[in-house]
Amino acid sequence: MKPAVLLLDTTNFYSGLVFKGLENKVLKSDKYIFVTTEFTIAEIYWLLTEKRGMNRKDALDLIKSVPLIIIKSNFFKHKWNEADGLIGNRDKSDIPLVALALSLKNHDGIWSSDKDFEVVKGKFKIWKSRELL
C-alpha cells in the first residue's frame, strides 16, 4: 500500500527543488502529506537564500507551496536521547527527524535516500523515491 504521511529529509527535499528528477515528481505528485522538523526547514531556507541567492519571500513561498507540516522541536524533544542513541553516531544532524519519527504516531515512514537512515530501517519504513511514483 502506498503511504500517505511521509517524513521528509533535507537531501530529498532540496533535490526535489533543484533537479527535475524523481524527487521533484514526488514533491509535486499531490499524493502525500509531508511532515518535517524546523531543523530541515532552516537548512532548506539557508540553501535557497545563501547558496541559490533566492530572496527571502520567494524562499518562504516555495517552502509553503509544498504540502508540508513543520513540527516544532518541543513536540519531539522527549525522544531526543533515544534518537541520538539510534543515529547520533552516524550523523547528529539526523537526530531531529528520527526523534520526530519516534514521537509521531500514524506516519508511514521516512522518505530518504540517505544511507544513514538504514540504521532505523527496523523501526520505520524508509521509502526510496522510485517506490513513491
Partner: protein
C-alpha cells in the same frame, strides 16, 4: 458564516486527523478538514508557484553544471550548521 456539513471519515484517516490536532499543528479536527479542503481547492495555485520557482532553480543547476554529488555537498554544508547548533544545545 459557513454552513455545517456532516462528514464520515474512514477510521485510518480520522486517526491521522486526530494526530495532527494532538501534535498541536491544528487546534481542532474542523481546522484540519478546512486546511485539507483549501489545499485541494488551491492546489492549482500552489502548484503554479512551485513550478515557477523550481523552474528557476533547475535552470540555475543546469547552468552551473551541478551534479547530484555537488548538491549533496551543499546539503552537507547546511547540515554542518545543524550539527553545530545541536552541539550548542547539549
Amino acid at each position: 458564516m459557513g454552513q455545517k456539513i456532516l462528514l464520515n471519515l474512514p477510521e485510518k484517516d480520522l486517526e491521522k486527523v486526530e494526530t495532527l490536532v494532538k501534535i498541536g499543528e491544528f487546534t481542532s479536527k474542523t481546522e484540519v478538514i478546512r486546511f485539507a479542503v483549501k489545499q485541494l481547492l488551491y492546489s492549482e495555485e500552489r502548484m503554479k508557484k512551485f513550478e515557477e520557482l523550481t523552474k528557476e532553480l533547475q535552470k540555475q543547476t543546469k547552468e552551473r553544471g551541478m551534479t547530484r554529488k555537488e548538491i549533496e555537498r551543499e546539503v552537507e554544508e547546511a547540515k554542518e550548521q545543524t550539527r553545530k547548533l545541536i552541539s550548542q544545545m547539549r
